[in-house]
């Protein structure tokens, strides 16, 4: 167990974890959120929203250069005192609890709507969360390997909506830039939930074995996210037009549902299968991140024990918003606040870190 927490991961694996934590259920209704405000230019807002992850990576790079052996939790305790630092860490942890629970409940709703209608949602939820708990139980290295594998899956899933290219109309994305700059920025805030999750790199950067590659890999990961999100949003608008997006809860699915493959009568099942694999990894990552932060606070308990202890809480919390309406209202309420908290918290830590001259030498 000590081995697993001490074991190192490569920068590439961290890239997979970064993208793996971010790409989740939020992507399914990303076009809905942005087109509501920015209309057919929603995809531009998604690109603008990419400023947030870029900023996060920028801060992570600074901290990693200055304090390569301490993660954000240790730093916040060091700079802000034990009590206040731990309190903020706890708040930071609820970030990941939020991602775990909302993605788990979101996936449950999606699956029980489309393919698993024969099972009661709560059972499905128990199963989905238990998968997260199991992978978190097995530690960081196996998790990194899972992420590495599913990264390939993600690319495959992301390529599927490309078939919409042949069927859409360019007309649907015109006129370009007729929305006001204000609405573009407003909509970009909405895309934050889909970018959320990349804060996970602050926990794991001291564990990276090849540090010199850290920055370039993280930038590549964020770039991948931005390109994936904006192109999927663009494709959805391009295929359905903004009027149909408004009518569908999971607009990205419309494009994939129209695919016709000989022999296979209904493509939905295949897509859903791939998509749930992608989401299981999102849940596992956020679950592990929550456990990781708890472990940092309660040093006596192991990651394995904490994974088990957290399980009922996560199930309980996810089951609170197991209908789509409640989930979306909750997310609309909490996500902007948490994004703001993340920015402030990480910026403050970074600024203090910069002000403390030669943090490294001081220690020695």
């Amino acid at each position: 167990m000590q081995n697993s927490s001490e074991s190192k991961i490569t920068s590439y694996q961290l890239l997979c974890i970064l993208t793996g934590t971010a790409i989740g259920i939020g992507l399914m209704d990303l076009p809905n959120q942005v087109t509501e405000i920015a209309k057919q230019n929603g995809w531009v807002s998604v690109i603008i929203g990419g400023i947030y992850p870029l900023y996060i990576v920028y801060i992570a790079d600074i901290l990693q250069n200055k304090f390569p052996d301490e993660n954000i939790l240790q730093l916040s305790r060091k700079f802000l005192g034990k009590v206040f630092g731990n309190l903020l860490n706890l708040l930071f942890m609820f970030n990941f609890i939020l991602y775990t629970t909302t993605v788990a409940s979101g996936l449950t709703i999606l699956l029980s709507t489309f393919i698993m209608y024969f099972m009661s949602p709560i059972k499905l939820l128990v199963f989905i969360v238990s998968l997260g708990a199991i992978s978190s139980y097995s530690g960081l290295r196996p998790l990194a390997n899972i992420n590495e594998l599913i990264f390939v899956f993600t690319i495959v899933v992301a390529l599927i909506p490309l078939v919409a290219l042949g069927r859409g109309k360019l007309l649907n994305v015109l006129p370009l830039f007729d929305s006001s700059v204000e609405s573009l920025f407003k909509a970009s805030v909405e895309s934050c939930f889909s970018y959320g999750g990349i804060e996970i790199i602050f926990l794991f950067y001291p564990l990276v074995s090849d540090r010199e590659k850290f920055k370039s890999y993280m930038l590549k990961g964020v770039l991948f996210l931005i390109i994936l999100y904006s192109s999927l949003t663009f494709l959805t608008i391009y295929y359905c037009g903004i009027d149909l997006i408004k009518k569908s809860f999971w607009s990205i699915l419309i494009a994939t549902k129209s695919i016709e493959i000989p022999i296979i009568n209904n493509f939905r099942f295949i897509f859903m299968f791939l998509w749930s694999i992608v989401n299981f990894k999102t849940i596992s990552n956020s679950y592990f991140a929550s456990v990781f932060i708890l472990k940092d606070m309660f040093k006596k308990l192991s990651i394995k024990k904490l994974s088990v202890i957290l399980f009922p809480f996560i199930v309980l919390m996810s089951s609170n918003y197991i209908n789509e309406e409640a989930r979306r209202t909750f997310l609309k309420f909490i996500v902007p606040k948490y994004t703001l908290f993340n920015i402030v918290f990480l910026t403050v830590i970074c600024l203090i870190g910069l002000l403390k001259k030669d943090g490294l030498n001081e220690e020695k």
Partner: protein
């Protein structure tokens, strides 16, 4: 130690398995299910304002021939449910059926003309909400009752739905019929700014089922039907990359046919505050038969004259359809509003239907012949 492990794991597996397997809803054996081949929608007016809905489903029946289970004969029957709401039709249908129906394999969705005139909203809403439905099924409006259309017997097919699917699937080869006539394409055009759905219209003619035109909609309600010839030009102007035959005829012995592929481009601008559309059509094609014009494969000027004549004919027909659209159909069936919306901004509460009907529409046609076939049996010019 190892034995103990098994003692824990096996009961654990049993518990987990029974946790997930119990209380599973809707699971049934195959013999208890009915596969739906086609779905219809009818309405019946009770009083002028209110209707009762009727949803006929064409379902397959698998029956072994004379007790032999290996040679299964597939036939179909129509199960109808009626009710004051569309949900109630399901209740009503189940009370008459011996099996459970499963959706997801529908080949066609057929809506009767009166149901379409009442409004597509109720039926499309229940179809769109249901995630199990097959989105790649074809959508069509039929004359008379959808129930009659679904129960119509077509020789060699287990159900008429199978035939209609093939009918709609292959219609795009000729008569400038659009390729995208699935229910997904209805979703992308119904209640979408600046466009109105145009849906194939089928009817029975004696024993046959045939496509006889297009049903035109306004605000989700069917307002008119264009006949087969008009639909040809309407589709040519409405869709890009469609193919069909344009013919020039002098009498029944002398005529020429061009099998053309179309390319369409629409420009829109404002002249004196009114919209002005220009539809640029480019027809490229091959002459499939010609007993009318002499020497068009050898003589450049004769060829050009032929192309011009074809263009003239297309132009004339298109203009008459546009005239009909403005005076008779009174709906933007060409979907021109979306071009205006894409240029002048969306969601601005402009009634594009009205704007388009008030606008001026120009059609430019360019024809070029690419292929002459392998030869010609036209009479040689020296015989003249």
């Amino acid at each position: 130690m190892k034995k103990n492990k098994f003692l824990i794991i096996i009961p654990l597996l049993v518990i987990i398995f029974s946790f997930f397997i119990t209380g599973i809803k809707n699971s049934d054996i195959v013999e208890n299910m009915e596969i739906v081949a086609g779905l219809g929608s009818d309405v019946e007016y009770k009083t002028p304002g209110s209707v009762s809905y009727s949803i006929p489903l064409s379902t397959y029946i698998f029956r072994g021939i004379s007790g032999d289970d290996e040679n299964v004969k597939v036939s179909s029957t129509v199960r109808k449910g009626v009710g004051k709401t569309l949900g109630q039709t399901r209740e009503n249908r189940q009370s008459k059926a011996d099996k459970k129906t499963i959706l997801g394999f529908e080949k066609v969705y057929i809506v009767s003309e009166s149901s379409a005139a009442y409004g597509l909203e109720p039926i499309v809403d229940i179809l769109f909400k249901n995630p199990q439905l097959n989105d790649t099924g074809y959508f069509a409006i039929c004359r008379g009752k959808a129930e009659d259309m679904l129960s119509h017997k077509v020789e060699g097919y287990p159900s008429s739905s199978d035939f209609i699917e093939g009918l709609l699937k292959n219609e795009f080869n000729y008569s400038f019929f659009p390729k995208n006539i699935k229910i997904t394409d209805l979703y992308t055009s119904l209640y979408v700014e600046g466009t109105n759905p145009v849906v194939p219209y089928i009817e029975t003619n004696g024993d046959n089922i045939e496509v006889s035109g297009m049903a035109l909609f306004k605000n989700g309600k069917m307002v008119a039907k264009s006949n087969f010839d008009d639909s040809k030009w309407l589709n040519l102007m409405r869709d890009n990359k469609v193919c069909g035959i344009v013919s020039l005829q002098k009498d029944s012995r002398n005529y020429a046919d061009l099998y053309a592929n179309s390319f369409r481009k629409v420009n829109v601008d404002k002249i004196h505050g009114k919209l002005h559309f220009t539809i640029n059509l480019k027809l490229k094609g091959s002459v499939i038969t010609n007993t009318y014009f002499k020497d068009i494969s050898k003589n450049e000027s004769a060829k050009r004259a032929f192309e011009e004549k074809i263009g003239e004919k297309v132009h004339r027909n298109c203009c008459s359809v546009i005239n009909k659209m403005k005076t008779e159909y009174k709906t933007d069936c060409l979907g021109l509003g979306k071009y205006a919306a894409a240029k002048y901004g969306r969601w601005s509460n402009v009634d594009w239907d009205k704007e388009v009907l008030d606008s001026s529409i120009d059609v430019n046609v360019k024809v070029s012949i690419e292929n002459w076939g392998r030869g010609s049996f036209e009479k040689n010019s020296r015989e003249q």
